[in-house]
Amino acid sequence: MSIAADTTTLARQVLVTKTAQRPWTGRLLRRSGSWSLGLTLPLLLPLAILGAWQSASTWHWISPQILPAPAVVWGTLVDLTASGDITTNLGISALRVLYGFLIGGIAGLVLGLAMGLSPTVRAYLYPTFNAISLVPALGWIPLLMMFVGIGETLKIIIIAKATLVPIAIAAVQGIRNIPENYFEVGSVFRFSRWQVVRYIVLPAAVPSLFNGVRQGLNHAWLALVVVELLASSEGIGYLMVWGRQLFQLDVVIATMIVIGAVGLLLDQGLQFAESRLLRWRRSAY
């Protein structure tokens, strides 16, 4: 752009290379050096665990009742997938999460925006909301069971509650943390109330809201496992309970792997969506 700008960029680059030479955490790695090592390192621990697990079953250190061999677990995972047990139950669970997440998410968003935008609504609702959200979702279960029984309604309510709280909190905080400066800019351009919401409040709250959605989905998945473990005759959590009751640990571990994989998928998916949606946060420096 200009000489002045060029010199500052140059200065910055010099600074970056200078500090990059000796990042305080990375001295050892840099000395040992190579790029490929950076890729192999993360695989060492899983391989070590797998090795220990395999040896434990090969040399009968632990009874297969307590810890079945990796190959057995893998076999069960393949069998359960082939027989459709995993897909069917996962489908049922996914639907529960979807309903609960949608209901809780929309309710949380509406509640959060209302409490964020209107000081009056916040004054009347926030303390009660806060008190309710402080009781862990689990704590509500026995009470809800007495009102709605142990059917689908209970599961959807619990999942919805687990989703609602983080999303509503994220909306409130996202809105409250918007710098007052931004509102002055809106005032300078004579924004109407609606324009302030549309052009300042919503976009400024998006990063926080996204965080809330991520947490909400995370909690929804956690809550699903809880309710399915507690009272269910189908679903991925039930598969686990069933395996536990029959003392088939291969089924239990296989289900854990599925639950972990779904969790990972959700997390990575949302991370990807976030980085796409919030590209403006990337800075040039």
């Binding site: 200009s2 002045a4 700008a5 500052t8 960029t9 400066n181 800019v185 351009f189 004579r190 052009y199």
Partner: protein, 260 residues
């Protein structure tokens, strides 16, 4: 081209009440700014110069006295008045174009006219090629250029600048001061610059208003006769500078060290 605004301040007084104690930020400030004039206001921090600008912008409506623009009393903010803040205050989620376009949200222009106005102002501040960039990708100087374009895109009668280059390094600051002088000449509108940089005030202003604190009031108004465009080492400017700096030397050493 926008018609330059004629601003009149009459006996402005502004007080804040904190825990029952009133303290006066501005007292008896009167100033008449001719259409198309460039007026600089200098003073130490706490002399109320930024408060004065906020009153003129209409961001704060609680004061005594009168502020008239072209003979009419001000009421709240208006698109007739543009402002550039010390921090650029660009919205990080909008590109350069969209940030400038935001100012046109309530303008009577058509879509096509808006697009033209935005492009014209991007060019005015010399940011061609950065239209799609996000604020996070811009340097401080570039961000402030966008803020100037955003403030001018509505073709205001008067542009208020609240220490706009205060956060920039010296090289960028000098460059943007020259740019601002050029823009002022091109646009031909009234501008008021609040700054604590005496050289900047003199380089740009037709008149330099020196303010003193506690309560904030005008100490002296120094005319700068040198015609625009000016060069930095003009002898007359240097003389005016000595005379303005003399005003500050009279104040206590304590306040000077505070301002630094």
């Amino acid at each position: 081209m926008a018609k330059p605004g004629h601003l009149t301040l009459r006996n402005i007084r502004k007080q804040y009440t904190v825990n029952g104690n009133a303290f006066t930020v501005l007292d008896g400030v009167s100033l008449d700014i001719a259409p198309g004039e460039f007026v600089s206001i200098v003073g130490h921090s706490g002399c109320g110069k930024s408060t004065l600008l906020r009153l003129v912008m209409g961001l704060d409506g609680e004061y005594e006295g009168e502020i008239l623009l072209d003979g009419h009393r001000l009421r709240g903010t208006s698109l007739d008045r543009g402002i550039v803040f010390q921090e650029h205050r660009l919205f990080p989620w909008l590109s350069v174009t969209d940030n400038i376009g935001l100012a046109l949200q309530n303008s009577p222009l058509t879509k096509a006219e808006r697009r033209d106005a935005i492009q014209q102002h991007v060019e005015l501040v010399g940011l061609q090629g950065f239209e799609k960039a996000w604020p996070n990708q811009l340097s401080g100087g570039m961000s402030q250029r966008v803020a100037i374009a955003r403030a001018l895109v509505n073709r205001p009668e008067i542009l208020l600048l609240d220490e706009p280059f205060g956060a920039l390094d010296a090289l960028n600051r000098a460059k943007l001061q020259a740019e601002l002088q050029r823009i002022w000449q091109v646009e031909g509108i009234t501008m008021i610059l609040v700054t604590h940089d005496v050289e900047e005030a003199i380089f740009l202003g037709d008149r330099v208003v020196v303010m003193e604190p506690r309560p904030g009031r005008i100490k002296r108004i120094v005319p700068v006769a040198t015609p625009h465009p000016r060069v930095r080492n003009d002898c007359n400017l240097l003389q005016v500078r000595e005379s303005v700096l003399e005003e500050f030397r009279e104040e206590t050493i304590e306040t000077i060290s505070n301002a630094a």
